[in-house]
């Protein structure tokens, strides 16, 4: 029952994020647009490119969806509203998101199209950039909670949210989350103006609908993870816990969607340079900072 409810919540969340995305992209708030667009996608035929690698081509959108849903399975909406409260939940989400890369590289190679291929490779470079920055901040929130279970991490923030005590990790994790979801300015694999929609360019009809849904669910899970790790999850006065979770998730999603509109797409070389030369040292400093504060706090 919890699973069904949470799946519905996930879908509703994806829909709301789709509305938000349309709002940030076009400046108009149109609540029915994702529904109409989704129906229209079902109405269009789903073409398979000639000489496509059929297995990769078909699997990629589904794998993207699976990876996002797996990550969502361990994210708690409320203390009792979580599909699986894994003891290593914080690590598990990272493992689930690793399949985003697999899916996008499949989507790049599968269609046998040059633009998709280049876009898929770019995402490989992007993975090398964000991989450390996704994991290292998780280590610090786990340090504070002395556990990797999501519910424990939220409970550890009852006094102060992690965003306040670990601001560096918060910023890094937020940026890395945008890179995982390939949102602008990290939308290298689906660059609309540069590579004619990149990995998504060869998908049409139902397969494109699955791809788009998968990406929305991914954004939802990443936003939810940011809320759980850094913004206190369900903690908050007054409203029921799940409302707080939802509000925080949507706020983070809006921030992730809106921030990139004003900045040009990042160059691959800059992305790798900044994450490795600046991001990782900052993440290490964050770990040191958190360790110091925790140690001093204990004393």
């Amino acid at each position: 029952m919890t699973t069904v409810a949470l799946t519905l919540v996930l879908l509703v969340g994806a829909y709301l994020v789709a509305v938000l995305e349309g709002w940030t992209a076009t400046g108009r708030f149109r609540p029915a647009a994702p529904l109409v667009a989704g129906l229209a996608l079902f109405g269009r035929e789903s073409l398979v490119p000639r000489r496509a690698d059929r297995i990769l081509f078909e699997t990629a959108p589904v794998l993207l969806l699976v990876s996002a849903v797996l990550a969502a399975a361990v994210l708690p909406l409320a203390p009792d509203l979580v599909v699986v409260d894994l003891a290593t939940g914080a690590l598990f989400v990272n493992a689930a998101w690793a399949y985003v890369m697999v899916a996008l590289v499949m989507a790049g190679w599968g269609p046998n199209g040059a633009y998709a291929m280049v876009a898929g490779w770019r995402f490989l470079g992007q993975l090398v950039a964000y991989a450390m920055l996704i994991v290292m901040p998780i280590a610090t929130v786990g340090m504070r909670a002395e556990s990797l279970a999501m519910t424990a991490i939220v409970r550890s923030q009852e006094s102060w949210w992690n965003a306040a005590t670990q601001p560096l990790g918060f910023v890094l994790f937020l940026l890395a989350a945008m890179a995982v979801a390939f949102l602008p300015p990290f939308d290298l694999p689906t660059a609309p103006g540069e590579l004619a929609e990149g990995v998504a360019g060869e998908y049409t009809g139902v397969r494109l609908a699955v791809f788009r849904l998968a990406r929305l669910v991914l954004v939802v899970t990443l936003a939810a993870a940011v809320a759980v790790f850094y913004l206190g999850g369900w903690l908050g006065p007054g409203l029921p816990p799940w409302v707080w979770s939802a509000v925080k998730t949507l706020a983070v999603a809006a921030a992730m969607l809106g921030a990139g509109r004003f900045v040009p797409r990042i160059r691959t070389e800059h992305l790798l340079e900044w994450t490795w030369k600046l991001g990782i040292p900052l993440a290490l400093m964050n770990i040191l900072w958190v360790a110091l504060t925790l140690w001093l706090g204990d004393r």
Binding site: G27, V48, G113, A196, E197, G201, G205
Partner: protein, 777 residues
């Protein structure tokens, strides 16, 4: 009510719901590009259309204005790539050859567009699903199979056989088919060497220099074997070509097909890609009897599990899953196959999974060109500096394994190992595995030139145009990508050829209007150019109110043009707010009733200030797209001024001088400088408009009759100075020669992009603000 490309099926109530949704959500692929649509005053989003970057995601193919035959062919291919149901909306266009009849044809204005969209919606809601679908058979989308040697791409035959050079079996490959290709005359002359020369045939083979992949010191003028190791020699460039040109040349028939047919095919598979023994030709054979495509060994090449032949294709194409399709595809297997044939050639060029599209193996290892004067010296490609440590600033250093650092280190041992495992050793004759089928990536890339990052990747030739979303519509580019970097680039502009020049001779009174049609992006400037030339012939000097009026018109057009360029450029680099806002402002400028809209001017100024301060814009653009100093004399307009070269045709104009005109300069010569210069010019134009003041619009002075003589005139179009040389006799134009700025800039493209990552290459090209229309060749 029907649409031109309905989806097959009986219209049940769930499908009517889907049809309603299809009618409401209208992603549109714009031909030739959105900038032209906006400069015609069309607001696509307000009409309910949503421009998309690929025809695969589009329902509507919207054709704006008059489409030249080359672009019509590309539009036809784009249409074939759209998933059904698909429609065509022709806005202000004459009947388009090469496309099915449009579903709606309207006038070239917003009201017409809205009416057309409303009609399309009705048609889609009723006719999205139909029991019969017309078979799409476009000449431009037809392909045929040719046979090529994997090792020697210049060897091309129409039937299977063996390669005369090395004896390998020829592998099938798809190429542009029945439609006559644009010949090399369609390419800017400076590029001719790149395509014409390298389109080698056997006759050409004898004229080339040949070298041994293992021993670059061995050079001879015809094919043969290396006296040292006995390997077959591989061709290099022509003996009289300097190494740099040998570099920008493309290999084999790919060049001919790629350049020519990139005009034909929007984003078809380039000629140099996959062998296609599969359903493609099999399906096509059903439609095009007599094609020798069936001669291809279909069965042998099929991977296991994929049913060959038409039914296989039909089943693949008809997507299982939605129950709606099961009923339809049984009786329409043919149709699915039929439209799948051109459609399933990917919107985006295919990458060969086999060896047939790699660049010829010239030189040993990472060596790329022989210096014919001194065979012991090798050169590395001239690449743009981007801060990567691998680039050697002196591009004529002799390459040896120790001097090139990481490149050298992983080349040395790896090469020998690779060669061994690839089956190349000193005694045997060829590197190919038996049967000519599969080659390992290591073996395939062993002799390729290395890109500056040292990573050996297969070379793939990919068209980027003429309907590519980030580039000006009509610019047919072809990149040879080495991984994600551009190894070579060639340009073709035949797609915008409209034969305008033929219409220029004629009465002098109508000549300005005829010249204005040359470039739909800058009609005012070209009309002014014609008027000036006529006045120069007549020896007439216009009075001040007329001169001021002209300044206002020209500057208003400049503001609109730069805003339009900025919208496309910003959408290329992904700065969506910048793109959206400048598109809105461009539309407002185009639609403004008069040039004195103070509020609009204030908005534009505010936007320019905000845009220049966009975060990270500097980092994104700095250092990209710089041309060398030796090309400085080819630069014009904002491109030249961004490099610090102070050339502007307006400085010689007394009307401008009287209004206090000053050129906008920047140093840097890169994409960032060009952006800054254009932003500064927008503000400068607004200042000029303010200084010129609101003037009553006098009638254009009448052209004196019976003019005789010839004269030259120059005008600063938004892209640079355009020159016109006009000869008149008895009041009629008998000869007119236009030198547009884009002609000089297009030639710069290969040098600008080679060695760049593909996104940076596109930014560099877009920063030039080219107009393929004014080249019109």
């Amino acid at each position: 009510m029907t649409v031109s490309g309905p989806r097959l099926g009986i219209s049940t109530w769930p499908r009517r719901l889907l049809a309603w949704a299809l009618a409401r959500d209208l992603p549109a692929f714009v031909v030739p590009d959105t900038r032209l649509a906006r400069s015609a005053g069309l607001d696509l989003e307000a009409a309910g259309l949503r421009p998309v970057a690929t025809p695969r995601h589009a329902t509507v193919l919207i054709v704006v204005g008059e489409v030249p035959p080359g672009l019509a062919a590309a539009a036809g291919v784009a249409y074939a790539q759209m998933p059904r149901p698909r429609t065509i909306l022709a806005v202000g266009a004459a009947p388009i050859l090469g496309l099915p009849p449009p579903d709606a044809t309207t006038t070239l204005d917003q009201a017409g567009l809205m009416a057309g969209v409303a009609r399309l919606r009705r048609q889609l809601a009723e006719g999205a699903f139909a029991t019969e679908a017309p078979v799409l058979d476009l000449a431009a989308a037809r392909t045929r199979t040719e046979f090529v040697c994997p090792m020697h791409p210049e060897v091309v035959r129409n039937e299977p056989g063996s390669c005369p050079v090395c004896g390998m079996d020829l592998v099938p490959r798809e190429a542009a088919g029945a439609m006559a290709r644009h010949d090399h005359a369609g390419i800017v002359p400076a590029m001719a060497h790149a395509s014409g020369a390298a389109a080698g045939t056997e006759e050409d083979a004898a004229k080339r220099t040949y070298t041994c992949p293992m021993h670059p010191a061995v050079v001879q003028s015809g094919p043969g074997r290396c006296p040292i190791c006995g390997m077959h020699l591989v061709p290099m460039g022509r003996a009289d070509d300097p190494p740099q040109q040998a570099l920008s040349r493309r290999s084999g028939p790919d060049s001919g097909d790629g350049t020519g047919s990139s005009g034909d095919r929007a984003r078809e598979e380039p000629a140099g890609t996959v062998d296609d023994g599969h359903a493609g030709p099999a399906e096509q054979a059903d439609q095009h009897a007599g094609q020798d495509a069936l001669a291809v060994g279909v069965a042998g090449d099929q991977p296991a599990g994929q049913p060959a032949g038409r039914h296989g294709a039909a089943m693949r194409a008809a997507r299982p899953g939605t129950m709606m399709d099961h009923r339809s595809h049984v009786d329409s297997g043919m149709d699915h196959g039929a439209h799948d044939a051109p459609a399933s050639s990917t919107a985006h060029p295919a990458v060969g999974h086999d060896s047939s599209n790699h660049a010829p193996m010239g030189g040993a290892g990472h060596l790329v060109a022989m210096d014919p004067a001194d065979p012991a010296r090798m050169t590395i490609p001239r690449t743009a500096e981007d801060g990567s440590g691998h680039r050697s600033p002196d591009h004529r250093t002799p390459m040896d394994h120790t001097a090139t650092g990481p490149q050298g280190m992983d080349q040395g041992p790896m090469d020998h190992g690779a060669m061994e495992s690839g089956g190349v050793d000193h005694g045997t004759m060829d590197h190919s595995p038996p049967g000519g089928g599969f080659m390992s990536m290591v073996a395939m890339t062993e002799a390729l030139p290395r890109s500056p990052d040292g990573l050996p990747m297969e070379w793939v030739e990919i068209p980027f145009g003429p309907l590519f979303a980030g580039l000006p519509g009509g610019l047919a580019l072809s990149f040879t990508l080495d991984g994600d970097g551009v190894a070579r680039a060639t340009v073709g502009t035949g797609t915008t050829a409209r034969g305008q020049r033929r219409g220029w001779p004629g009465p002098a009174e109508t000549f300005p209007d005829r010249l204005a049609r040359l470039d739909p992006l800058a009609p005012v400037a070209y009309r002014l150019l014609a008027q000036r030339a006529l006045e120069a012939v007549a020896g007439v000097v216009v009075d001040e109110p007329t001169a001021r009026r002209r300044v206002r018109a020209a500057e208003w057009e400049r503001v609109g043009s730069h805003l339009g360029w900025l919208a496309e450029f910003a959408s290329l680099i992904g700065a969506t707010w910048l793109a959206r806002r400048s598109a809105q402002l461009q539309l407002a400028v185009v639609r403004a009733k008069d040039e004195d809209d103070a509020r609009l001017a204030a908005e534009i100024r505010g936007f320019v200030r905000a845009g220049a301060r966009l975060p990270l814009l500097h980092r994104r653009l700095v250092g990209i797209g710089g041309t060398g100093l030796d090309l400085a004399d080819r630069l014009r307009g904002p491109v030249a001024r961004a490099a610090g070269i102070e050339v502007d045709a307006r400085t010689d104009d007394p009307a401008y001088r009287g209004l206090g005109f000053g050129t906008s300069l920047d140093s840097g010569g890169d994409a960032l400088a060009r952006l800054r210069v254009r932003l500064a010019e927008i503000v400068a134009s607004l200042d000029l408009l303010l200084a010129a003041g609101a003037a009553a619009a006098p009638n254009a002075p009448p052209v004196p009759s019976g003019l005789l003589g010839s004269a030259e005139a120059m005008v600063e179009t938004p892209r640079g100075a355009a020159r016109l040389r006009l000869t008149l006799e008895r009041g009629a134009v008998i000869d007119a020669h236009v030198d547009p700025p884009s002609a000089g800039h297009i030639v710069l493209i290969p040098g600008l992009v080679e060695g760049r990552e593909v996104a940076d290459a596109l930014v560099a090209i877009a920063s030039l603000d080219l107009s393929p229309w004014e080249v019109d060749r």
